[in-house]
Amino acid sequence: MSVDLATVKRVAHLARIAVTDEEAARMEGELNTILGFVEHLSEVDVEGVEPMTSVTPMAMKKRADTVTDGSKADDIVANAPERADNFFMVPKVVE
């Protein structure tokens, strides 16, 4: 499988990365090189093989459903590029 220019632009939008026409054209070549490389996997017979979900056979750890942390609003917004009190500021989302 390979990607064309329109697909590169669609994927870039899905990934929320702005690309110029020039960049998209360059990426088309690079992505097709990589996709050509991973194409080797189609040679492998995977009939009846379980997909890996965890490298170590282990049960997911669980803990009691209690509050163990919190009240750190100041810490959480400390690195925000724009903030007001304990809120992250973003451009208007809803009209």
Partner: protein
């Protein structure tokens, strides 16, 4: 003592233990070495000199009170991927500009709890994506090693290039690193240092910027095998903040050194003899086999038939996980923000400016293989292949193999700005051909220096072990180290 930075962690620990050396003295020696070397080596992206001196002073005070920890007073460098409270943490990316977390990663917290001193943050490939340290926003770290009779700058490998360069150039006693496809073992091989990627789940991933969560593991890069054992013992822990951290006590790895490898079964996988591999690598491998045989190990040929599919499968699984993990860098909660006409435009512009080419490439691949209609053909198939790769190893271990010996890399260190590697991303990806299988199967792997090539550059051998049998790797690597000797870069910086 003339040059304190030449002491290994074990030697410095013993010197401080008998009162012949203070952490303040040792830390000052390293800060001086960093000041002298960093303009040429570019291993540190942030030096925390004041903090280091404070920590060293506090360490000396603890020792005076009889409260010395396992790493008391030892000055270390930390890969920029680890969150360090109030200190530069950017995964060497522009997108995390100015980020200083309000929390400490579990691994570094373990080190400080054991008395270690932080010298600063180390250079790396952006978000650990790269094999040469050239994708760093801060420019490449430079290998302290040069080919004989040459002044050309070589890469220290990657992604933990700054960690390996700093250890090899005596700019820290040891360093933390991380390994997703070979990012500890390949730089260690390129710089004549020791690097171990422990079993998946041995070190907590909490507070380490995520690249590919099912593959990422923390580990140390050090001057020798003993130091790697000492450092891993402190880094590893059981952590309730990481659900993949394994509930098993951390053994005393150092105690495994010096144990006999007599009767140990060492597997030699024929699939690692790849086309175009330099003769010198083959010779080195044979030397390693001979050393282990001399030490009483039994050498057996094994088959790992799905080896050649590990890299292609990796370049689906890792980018897929990365595209999801890196979605959080959107200009809202931390780091860079580039204004846009609306919120989506702001996201797109921030990410376009904040991420470098290699990171964008991998996010794009990951987004594509996870997109509607392609999931089964790419991601699901890759995860099935991953099961087969792991099964190859399991069959070898079931047949009685204790550890597997392979070359660590398909070449020695290459030049900064190598044209053929820069123009073809897949060629660069081949650097991880011997290491990536280990991540895909979640196994432990250690890279140990074993010799020099014709250009006088270091080469490493890799040992792969059963899950959570790092002790076997340490004792076997120690045998190789004893036979091969240690390798030091000639100082030019």
């Amino acid at each position: 003592m003339t040059d304190l930075t030449r002491l290994t962690i074990a030697e410095a620990r013993d010197e401080m233990g008998r009162g012949a050396l203070s952490s303040v003295e040792l830390t000052d020696a390293y800060l001086n070495a960093i000041e002298a070397a960093n303009p040429a080596i570019n291993a540190y992206v942030k030096v925390t000199a004041d903090k280091a001196r404070e920590m060293a002073k506090a360490s000396d005070a603890r020792r005076a009170n009889g409260q010395a920890g396992a790493l008391e007073g030892i000055p270390l460098g930390v890969k920029d991927l680890y969150a360090t409270e109030g200190v530069h943490t950017q995964a060497c990316s522009h997108v995390l500009d100015g980020f200083e977390p309000r929390y400490e990663s579990t691994v570094t917290a373990n080190l400080w709890a054991d008395g270690a001193v932080m010298l600063g943050k180390l250079n790396m490939d952006e978000f650990a994506m790269g094999s040469s340290n050239e994708t760093s926003y801060y420019g490449p770290a430079i290998n302290p090693w040069r080919a004989e009779g040459s002044n050309a700058n070589l890469v220290p490998g990657g992604s933990s290039g700054g960690s390996a360069a700093a250890v090899a150039a005596l700019m820290c006693a040891g360093a933390t690193a991380t390994d997703t496809g070979g990012s500890i073992r390949q730089p260690a091989a390129f710089t004549g240092t020791v690097g171990i990627k422990p079993t998946y789940g041995r070190c907590s991933r909490w507070g380490i910027a995520a690249f590919a969560s099912s593959l990422d593991q923390a580990g140390p890069i050090t001057r020798d095998v003993r130091d790697a054992a000492i450092l891993l013992k402190s880094m590893a822990s059981v952590d309730e903040k990481d659900t993949t951290s394994v509930d098993m006590p951390v053994p005393d790895y150092e105690a495994a050194l010096g144990a006999s490898v007599k009767g140990l079964k060492i597997g030699i996988p024929r699939e690692y003899r790849i086309e175009g591999m330099p003769e010198e690598i083959e010779t080195l491998w044979q030397k390693g086999i001979a050393w282990l045989k001399d030490a009483g190990a039994e050498i057996v040929d094994i088959e790992l038939p799905h080896t050649k599919y590990a890299l292609p499968a990796y370049y689906i699984v890792a980018p897929a996980e990365a595209s999801s993990n890196l979605a959080r860098y959107d200009g809202v909660r931390y780091g860079l923000r580039v204004p846009g006409k609306d919120i989506a435009d702001m996201y797109e512009k921030t990410r376009a400016e904040g991420f470098g080419q290699e990171v964008k490439r991998r996010i794009m691949i990951g987004t594509y293989v996870l997109s509607a209609g392609y999931y089964d053909a790419y991601y699901l198939r890759a995860q099935k292949v991953r099961t087969l790769i792991k099964r190859d190893f399991e069959l070898a271990f079931e047949a009685g193999v204790d550890a597997i010996l392979t070359p660590a890399t398909p070449s020695s260190a290459f030049a900064v700005g190598d044209e053929s590697l820069a123009s073809d991303p897949v060629k660069m990806y081949m650097q991880d051909v011997f290491t990536v299988t280990v991540n895909m199967a979640g196994l432990p792997g250690i890279s140990v220096p074993a010799g020099l090539d014709a250009k006088g550059l270091p080469l490493g051998l890799q040992l792969i072990g059963r899950p959570f049998e790092e002790e076997t790797l340490f004792k076997t690597a120690h045998v190789i180290e004893q036979a091969a000797g240690r390798f030091e870069a000639k100082k030019w910086w």
